[in-house]
């Protein structure tokens, strides 16, 4: 599957050819270096490994630097892209031109952290009445029965940490690809804060 590591820059609006104003997220495609290849003979599946944001060799541990072939500087982030549709060589640099002709993409990123949240925000519970003698406001309510089963089942929706998890948004339309600026305009919002790392891949359910 075709894909690239990018950086979410922020949102804006652009006019489409019919004159409609479309909300878009600007994704900057940082230079993606092909660091390695996985093959079905050796690893059981086909994939390429791409890295972005190069670092000095002296700035990383020896074990981390050992993953990189000779002539390729270590990179801050590494991502595997399975079944890459284009033939690439180790050491090659990929840019935004790769996504030309792609109509829909899936975008993966780490969402914004929301901290410890209650059930109303985290799971969309309705909550109770605020006034008229109600003593039930934003509580989770019952978490199970008494004698039988005599325990709270796993995965019951309760308060806890929300956000800062990997989120994939599927089937986002590619509005335009600008190879000169090295940016991709994707329709709609993406997970994560500004300047976060995103993985833009060709959509698996739509083309």
């Amino acid at each position: 599957m075709l894909g690239l590591i990018g950086k979410k820059l922020g949102m804006t609006q652009v006019f489409d050819p019919t004159g409609k104003l479309v909300p878009v997220t600007v994704v900057q495609v940082v230079p993606n270096v092909v660091v390695g290849k996985k093959t079905s003979e050796d690893d059981g599946y086909d994939a390429i490994v791409v890295g972005a944001y190069q670092k000095k060799k002296t700035r990383v541990t020896k074990s981390y630097a050992g993953q990189f072939p000779e002539g390729v500087a270590p990179t801050r982030i590494l991502r595997e892209l399975r079944d890459f549709e284009k033939e690439v060589q180790v050491g090659e640099v990929l840019d935004a031109a790769l996504l030309e002709g792609v109509r829909y993409v899936d975008v993966t990123a780490t969402s914004k952290g929301k901290g410890f949240q209650g059930v109303v925000k985290r799971w969309g519970f309705g909550g109770g009445r605020a006034t008229h003698g109600s003593k039930f406001h934003r509580e989770p309510g019952s978490t199970g029965q008494s004698t039988y089963p005599h325990k709270t089942f796993k995965n019951v929706k309760l308060p806890g940490h929300m956000g800062h998890e990997q989120v994939t948004v599927q089937n986002l339309k590619v509005v335009s690809v600008d190879t000169e600026k090295g940016v991709v305009l994707v329709r709609g919002a993406l997970p994560g804060p500004r300047n976060c790392d995103v993985l833009v891949r060709k959509a698996i359910k739509k083309n």
């Binding site: 609006q13 652009v14 006019f15 004159g19 104003l21 900057q28 600026k181 940016v183």
Partner: protein, 122 residues
């Protein structure tokens, strides 16, 4: 200028039509019907201009057979061909929403008369 601002700057028209709140204007709006394109004119009083970068809009109000009609146009839209000023208005506020509740003479805006000395050579 960062990349997001550069993309926004591309969307903004290089020559924006010049008009003010209170002016009576004729907006030439492009309409696409299947494969044919035609230009529809819409005439009325500009009662508001909202500044929001690329999404800058202006509201034009007119009276159509006794019914008030308001239409909001995006100023930077490629479908807004041109805006002709038919009559300039003398107004003291930025938004003329009060006109919605007025009828008769009170719903009119006085014409702005500029002396020839003040008019800059264009």
């Amino acid at each position: 200028m960062n990349l997001v601002q550069a993309i926004q700057a591309e969307q903004i028209k290089s020559e924006l039509p010049v008009f003010n709140v209170g002016d009576t204007v004729r907006v030439s709006f492009k309409i696409v019907e299947g494969k044919t394109e035609r230009i529809q004119a819409y005439e009325g009083l500009v009662i508001a201009i909202k500044n929001a970068g690329v999404g800058r809009t202006f509201t034009v109000r007119k009276n159509s057979y006794g019914v008030g009609v308001e239409r909001v146009f995006p100023l930077n839209s490629p479908r807004v061909e041109k805006v002709d000023v038919l009559r300039r208005g003398k107004v003291r506020r930025a938004k003329l929403y009060y006109i919605r509740t007025k009828i008769g003479k009170k719903s009119k805006v006085k014409e702005l008369i500029v002396s020839k000395k003040e008019v800059p050579a264009t």
